[in-house]
Symmetry: C2
Subunit: 248 residues, 2 copies
């Protein structure tokens, strides 16, 4: 028995999300499981670091698989990539200690949300950025980002009530300006359902002046989804990297 | 009568090229003419700076139109963009002197050819870059680029024999490395049919060692298409900018 860690990139545009579903082949997990199982000749479960929503992209999603025996990593990766559709790519296959699990062992994640501030959506990034042409005060957004960073109960920033604790630690929310794009970097121990997209919607409310940075604390303390901003669309979100402890 | 200069961006992936064709609506010129004519209420011809091939992109194509009277540029642009498909965008509408013609008045062009050197094609740029994972000696390519720069007869670098003169002046061929991408910048007074793509194929032959930079002179002097490299695929090519004299 051998455990492998996969690093995966996908253009989420045409998929119904990461998680396998019985009624459609358009899920990333479903496609990976079908192709990997076909490759090794027995059923393999692909355990992702988390389930990205329909339309969300990844340039560094991770997953773990347990195989009956050892495989040659480079050749295995090549064989998978030959069979995968061009919008899913296995970037890396790595032998790890048995017991490794992409979700349970994850220590943190880095997401990037991209906003296209151009007057008209950039034709080349229209599937990877949210077009938001309204004027934005980026300095105010940075103040709000600072208030959102740290250890908080993020109940106001999720759309689901299925986690025991809504407390999460956000290490970093950095807003990078490049040309007409705004890239918001989120790093944290973990994120609740829809959390990055609601954080983004809230930061944009601050950018447009609808919400003041000083109100962020009250929005957090309210523990009330109604108080936070709108859910930013899936297409702007990309899972950049999943962090693990060095020793696996 | 008023003449306007349009600046246009498009993702060429699903189009049969710039030039209108009687049997398909999938041309950029055809779509622009249909929408502009519908907008003003009479037939308008859209004259591009040149015809990009099927699959070639543009982030700064230009075109000229002659309208019966004056229009409000910003509103006109907004109305066109509302009707255009999301992979074509009018970036700018500018009143110019009567007699301006996007093709005849063009003084030069800037094209970018993007090569994806990654082991596997980047899922996010797979439609905008040629995936070429072979090892490349970029310094050798730069030597060859230098030999191709200047005033030359480019008969060896075109697939068509319909121009009186095949002499063109190439101002600049610069190779920019950014991450796993190679962006080759071409600037010149004008380019022959397929010329940028054949120049790119030839530079890659140099990069892989099949051709030496010192052979470039002989390839040019041969005036023989067989001597130059392969035609690089359309998807990597983007028309970045068209240059005009200041006074129009």
């Amino acid at each position: 028995m051998r455990t492998y860690k996969l690093t995966i990139a996908y253009d989420g545009s045409r998929f119904r999300g990461w998680q396998r579903q019985p009624d459609t082949d358009l899920t990333i997990q479903g496609i990976l499981e079908r192709i990997i199982s076909g490759q090794v000749g027995y059923e393999v479960e692909v355990n992702g670091s988390g389930r990205t929503d329909a339309g969300v992209h990844a340039s560094g999603q991770t997953a773990s698989i347990v195989l009956a025996g050892q495989i040659e990593e480079l050749r295995f990766r090549g064989e998978l990539n030959r069979q995968l559709p061009e919008d899913i790519r296995v970037l890396d296959v790595q032998l790890v200690k048995n017991g490794f699990h992409a979700r349970y062992k994850a220590k943190g994640k880095h997401y990037i949300y991209t906003i296209d501030r151009g007057e008209r959506p950039d034709v080349f990034t229209r599937k990877y950025a949210w077009h938001f042409p309204d004027k934005l005060d980026v300095e105010q957004m940075r103040c709000a980002a600072k208030a959102l960073t740290g250890l908080h109960d993020f109940t106001s920033f999720t759309d689901r009530d299925d986690e025991k604790s809504k407390v999460r630690k956000v290490y970093r929310i950095d807003i990078e300006e490049t040309g007409s794009k705004l890239m918001i970097h989120y790093e944290g121990t973990g994120f609740l359902y829809h959390m990055v997209r609601i954080l983004t919607g809230t930061l944009l409310d601050v950018g447009t002046g609808r919400v003041k940075p000083e109100e962020i604390r009250a929005i957090l303390e309210a523990e009330d989804r109604q108080r936070a901003g709108q859910l930013a669309p899936a297409l702007g979100l990309c899972l950049r990297e999943v962090y693990y402890n060095k020793e696996r």
